[in-house]
Every structure is written in structure tokens, then in C-alpha cells.
Amino acid sequence: MPQRSKRFAILSERDVNRDSYIQEWPDAGLIMMHSPHDPTPSLRVEGDEIVELDGRTKDEFDMIDRFIAAYSIDRRVAFRAMGMDSLDLARMMVDIRVSRQDLVALFCGVTPAKLVDIVSHLNVVEMMMAVQKLRVRKTTANQAHVTNRKEHPALLAADAAEAALRGFAEEETTVAVARSAPFNSLAILVGSQTGRGGVLTQCSIEEAINLQLAMKGLTSYAETLSVYGTDSTFIDGDDTPWSKSLLAAAYAARGVKTRFTSGTGSEALMGHSEGKSMLYLEARCLMLVRGAGSQGVQNGSISCIALPESLPGGVKGVLAENLMATMLGLEVASGNDAMASHSDIRKTAKLMLQFLPGTDFITSGYSSMPKEDNLFGGGDFDAEDLDDWNVVQRDMQVDGGITPVTEAEVIRVRDRAARAIQVVYAGLDFPPITDAEVAAATYGHASEDMPDRDKVADLAAAEAFLHGPETVVNVIKVLAQSGFTDVAERVLDMQKQRIAGDYLQPSAILTDAFHALSGINDPNDYAGPGTGYRVVGARWEQLKNIPQAKPPDEVVRPSAAAQRPWTFRAKGPASVGTDPREVVIAVGPAFGTTITETLSGIPHETILRELMAGVEEEGLIPRVVKVFQTSDCGFIGHHGAQVSGSGIAVGMQSKGTILITRNDLAPLNNLELFSMSPNLTAESYRTIGRNAARYAKHKPVVPVPSIIDNMARLKYIVKTTLMHRKETECVRSDAPAREMDVEFGGR
């Protein structure tokens, strides 16, 4: 084996190299766009009948073609849309003078291959511009996953409440054991409405149970309707476009919002890509979704995400999927749920493609709990990434659908939600939830913090609940009768929303006041700078005020150690010294008075004690002088050197930046400079004092070794700025330097 480069060996261990990468293989469908087997766009209509679609004649149509030909192409605009040049259409998508409404109407007349042909002209930034303009709802939002391995009801309720408080518009749970579905749905319904009103909830579960849950009033949306881009995959998935459409109507008949699921990679994974590119197959899915009458879709590869990520242009292609959904007027919940990479850099880079332009739901499942508890196998972004998300929103003034919250608020709603589900369990005679479980759910982080429950008893009770007469009405009664009237009201309001059906409209969410926002009354009206959704006003206040952001004066508030009494008094003006044994220690105008410690928190008293001791160790005499005319370190030292008997001075700012200089050097020159004060210890200051004395004695000096810490500037730049500003405020240009009287307090 030839000798390994150490650099390559280190690179091979990086997270990004734990991901898989393969070269394109069109025959296996392992290609994002432009498979040689993809058809060229074509459409022929005779009378009202489509007789040719993307190169296939009527007699060659497969099942999906036949559905698309019947339901997905608007004959009134087809001739015009198909006759337009794809490049022109692509340019119209990023042209602010062409409205979203006009484009979406036009795209009702295109075929799947035409859709792909249009987006293939856009680069990734243009795709982001197009998504910003074409998404359905003006206001962006986000969806949360709420699950845990133990299926613990108190933890589910607490996590649901926290997610609601954090601003998620939808919450989705699922099951470890299918029989848990009614209890998990109940827990997130009660929990979410405790956190804030208006959160839509669902349980990902088999359709028959799902419909029963909806009938009991336990859920308000469903996104379990998966579709595929080839007949064989569809049939392996045990459905047809007609069966899925019927299901969509069935859910709507129960007042349940539905969203289909598609996404690149599933056909290749299931072995039936027919050699077509992932994006072309997704275009077929999306046209089918619209034809079926779904208001929206979750796509962006979803659970297959690692497959497009293994291919060239895969991440761009995933954005193209989201974009095609918006072109068809579909609400899009844009993935970012399943694990996309081992690398945080790569995950975040991918996220930006949806996060920056904004989609209807930036993720189709942000793991509101740690990923270990995510029963969807998701968690690309999880509870431990919440602050990163909040900070990036604040950095870019972008609304990623999550609101910063305080620990106190979170504890309050978690406790209340856990108590609410506790009273519901007690009132409906379910296996009791103890106070210890409530406390664990309130303060815990994950399943491992929760006591185990009697799973057998829970499952039996859940099954009895599903088949028994109790419904959400009993839940509302128990809540109202147990001191949770506000939660009862909100759970009832969710039922009333089901009756009104406003959230069945495209891309609908509910505000905390149960006001529906959808493509009908909050349509995306982006038309260039100054239009569309802007993060301003109250929302910007929410997003910018993360709890970690401190008031500036708090950053420079001195520690207790720096408030210990010591004597540091100005006497008369500093005279020019004559004793060659004297070393001047010149300090800045705020030193020991307005400011009492350095950047890294070393009290000024300690600094002076060490510097003076260092000078004395070399047998010389330290003399402390305070300079008022400047806050600049070089000039402070320079002023000191001018009055020093030996001509040597140490110049120091209050934040601790220090240098040694001599009276014949230019103000900005020096003998030694220590510009990164956080790297200095008390011991370093003593050595600096010693070195200054040795310069005064004309003895050889070994410069104080400097420590390199690349992170120091990053860590301290805010505090540096604020401290320097404080010191500069103390500058008096007409005040001469003063002699200082120093007496150290006892230790």
C-alpha cells in the first residue's frame, strides 16, 4: 500500500465522507434530470381528448398517462402553454413583471416533460427566486414531528405544547405500535392546543384508522397519501391514482385537510424507474396530485433524500421538485425531514434552498424532540438544533416558521399540557398519569427521562377508546370540568374549524386566533423588491429577540471579584520622571474606575499588582500613571514613556490589551505588543512587568510567548467593542495624565 497523505487521511474521516456518492446510471433511474430515456414534451388534442402526451400516443398510454390526460391538463390553455418556448417560460418565472397568478394558470396546460424542460433552464438561485414568487401562501410556516420511543402521553403532550408555542403550524405524530394511534393523536391534540390555539394535527397511520380518528375529532389533517411516477411502483404501493383520489375526497368529506406525498428516488429505490430521470417521474407525480384534487403535496424527496444526495445535481433537483409543485399551484411542505447527510455543513447548505426563498412549510417535519425519539426516522433538524435555526432566522431576517421562546414559557406550557392530558386520562378512566410523570415530561428532554408505563394497559385502553363511544366531546367536557376551560375552548374551536372547512383551501394554516390563512385570503403576491412576505414589524421583533441576545450594558457589567475595594486615586498631574530605575505603567482613562476588569474578567487590581511585582522583581520601581487624552493602546504607552525616568513604559487599555514601549519610538511602534488580552493570564502580566524592567536595564529580553487562539476574536468582539466604547467615553482631550495612588486591598 503506497504511503497515505495525512491530509487525505484526515479528509476521509470527515462527516461528509460518511455519505454515499455514486455516478449517474440512467438505466436504473439513478439520474436527477435528463435521462436519455426521458421523453421530449408533446401534446396533441383531438376534440376534447388528449391523444398524445410526451411522445406517447393514446394507445401507448400507461395508467398514469391516462389519469393525467383525463384530469391534469387544462385544455383551454394547453395549446398556448405547450406552444411557448420553455426558455421563455423559465425567464417569465424570474421576471417580476409576470404575476404568479398568470404563470400558474398557464402551467395548468403543460405536460410533465414540459414542466421538467422549463425548470431545467434555471440555475439554483433562479429556482429560489421562482419559489419565492410562486409558492401558494404569502406567509411562510413550518411543520413539526412529535413522537417518542415510549409513546409516553405526557411527553407527547408536553412536546406538542412546546412545538405549538414555538410557532409550528402543523404537528404530525405516528406510532411505534399501531394500536397507540388514538392515544398519540389525543396527546398531541390536547398538548398542541395548550401551547397555542389553531395548530393542525395528524397521525400518520393506516387509512381506515386515520378516518376513524378524524371522525372522533382527534385529527385535522392527513398527508399519508403517497403517489409514484411509474405504474409498477404505484401498484407495488398498493394503490392507483383513482384509489388515492377517492381517499382524498373521503378525508375532505370528514373535514380533514389532505396533502399528498411524493418525492424523487422512490421509483428507483423500488426498482421501477423505467430508466427515467427522478425529476421527470416527480413531474408525473405532481401532475397526478393536482389532477386528484389535492390542495398540496409534501415533496423534496422526503424519505429517499439520501438517494438524490448521492447524485450530481441532486440537491438542486430536490429544489426543482418543490418548484414544480408551486408551478402547479400546490401547497408544498418541502422535505428537510429525513436525514439528508452526516455533515452539518451539507445539511445546512441544502436547507438554505427552501429556507431562504420560503415555502408553505419549510420542513415537512422538524423533529421537535431529539432525533432518537423520532419514530419517522427523521430528525434532519431536531430539538437540539432549535437555537441554530432561530439564530439563522435572525442572521438573515428570514422567517423559517419557528418563534424564539424562553425557558420559563416552555416549562409553563409543558407542565400545563402534561397536566391537561393527566386530567383527560383520569376523566376518561384511562391508565393514570402520575404527578411524577407530569414532572418528568415538564423538565425532561427525551423518552429516557420518562418513567416506563404499563404498555399493555395503555394499548388495551387505546383500543377500547378507538372502538368505544367516547370522542373529542368527552375530552372537551373533562378539560372544562377540570380547570382547563381555555384548552377545552381551543379543542372545540378546532372542531368548529372542521365544520367550516376553511382549512381545506390551498395551503391553509390557522393563526392562534383561529384565523385561516390560505392561498385564498393570503395569496403570495411577490412581485419583486418591496412586495410579498417581508419579515418586518412585530414578526421581526419576535425573530430578532432571541433570549440569548443581552442588553449591551449587561455584557460589560463587572463581576463580583472586580468590585472588591482597593485604592486607586488620582493625585496631581504626572511630572516627567528623572530616576532611570523607574518604569511607568500607563493605564487608560476608564481603568480601575468606570471599568474594573479586563475582557476576560481579570480584576484591574490583580493586573496592576502583577505588573508592579514584575517590575520590582527586577529591582526597579513601578510608577502608575493614568492617561486621559486617549483610549488607544499605542498612545497610552507613548504618553507613559514620555514621563518615564527610564524612558520605558507599559501601556494598557482597560480591556487588558497591553504593550511595552520606549520614549523614542513612534506612538504606534512598540517593543512588545499583546493585542489579544483574553490570551493573557495574571502570570503573563507579571512577565510583562519583568520584561519592561529588563528593557529599562538594557538587559537581554526574551519576548513573552504569545498564545494563538483563533476563536478569541470571535468570542470577545462584542464585549471588546462595548468596553472600548466605554473607555473612549472617558477620554478628556484637555486633561493631562495623572499620578496614581495605588493601595491593594487584602485578599
Binding site: A249, S294, L492, G501, Q505, G519
Partner: protein
């Protein structure tokens, strides 16, 4: 009935007077007090065919024709029990039902529930299922 989406939507706020529970109870009458008094049951907390058609009109007027068609099919299915709905759904899955069984279900939907649009929709599947062999062979 004609709707103007910009004037009438959301119904819950702009036109609660148009929204009724299946029992005829009005939207405003559905209150916590009435729930506690036992005057509102789970059957009152369902969407009606009329409301779904109203939402379909709103969708259609806003340019969402396919969604509107789905909501109109949904309107027809509000009174179909879950178990019958699931029977229709299952019959439409690949290789589950014979052509004749699907025909029978269509007749049931049409005669018992007046679900004409749903049936018309299902019937477009029949030649496809025949051609692609998606009906169960006996």
C-alpha cells in the same frame, strides 16, 4: 349560490351564518356551554355537503378547479359511512375487486347517496383497469 372569495372567505369569520352542523345547529350555537349541557354531540362536529360545496365554489373562483372537483366529490360522500367509504376505496386498489363489484359499488353510491360526480370519476377508471389488468380476476 354565488361566492366572492375576497368577501366571503374564511367562512368561519365572514359567513358563520352559512355554516351549519348536520343536525342543523348553527355555527354560533356550537359553544362550550352547549357541549357541557350535552346539547352538542360528535355528530354535530361534522362538515356538511352544503359547506363543502361552498368551499368548492371558493376554490373554483380562485383558480383551483381540480381541488374544487375533489371538494364536490367529498360533498357527496359526507353521508356515506366510513365502512362503505373504505369498501369503495379498497375496491379501487389494484387487484382487489372484479369489474362487477366496482359496478355494484357505483350503483350503491349513486342510488343511496346520490354521489353522481364520484361515480362518474370512478367510471373513468374502469377502462384503464380493464386495459391494465387491475381488476381481480374472479
Amino acid at each position: 349560490m354565488s361566492v366572492d372569495p375576497s368577501r366571503d372567505y374564511p367562512l368561519a369569520e365572514k359567513h358563520p351564518d352559512w355554516v351549519r352542523a348536520p343536525s342543523g345547529l348553527s355555527f354560533q350555537e356550537i359553544t362550550l356551554e352547549k357541549v357541557l349541557a350535552g346539547e352538542v354531540g360528535v355528530d354535530d362536529l361534522r362538515i356538511t355537503a352544503e359547506t363543502l360545496r361552498r368551499q368548492a365554489d371558493i376554490a373554483e373562483a380562485s383558480g383551483y378547479a381540480a381541488l374544487a372537483a375533489n371538494l364536490r366529490r367529498a360533498a357527496e360522500l359526507t353521508t356515506v359511512p366510513n365502512e362503505r367509504l373504505l369498501a369503495v376505496y379498497n375496491a379501487l386498489r389494484p387487484h382487489r375487486a372484479t369489474r362487477q363489484e366496482v359496478d355494484t359499488l357505483c350503483d350503491e353510491l349513486e342510488t343511496l347517496y346520490g354521489a353522481c360526480e364520484t361515480v362518474a370519476f370512478i367510471r373513468t377508471a374502469i377502462p384503464v383497469y380493464e386495459a391494465k389488468g387491475l381488476f381481480r380476476r374472479k
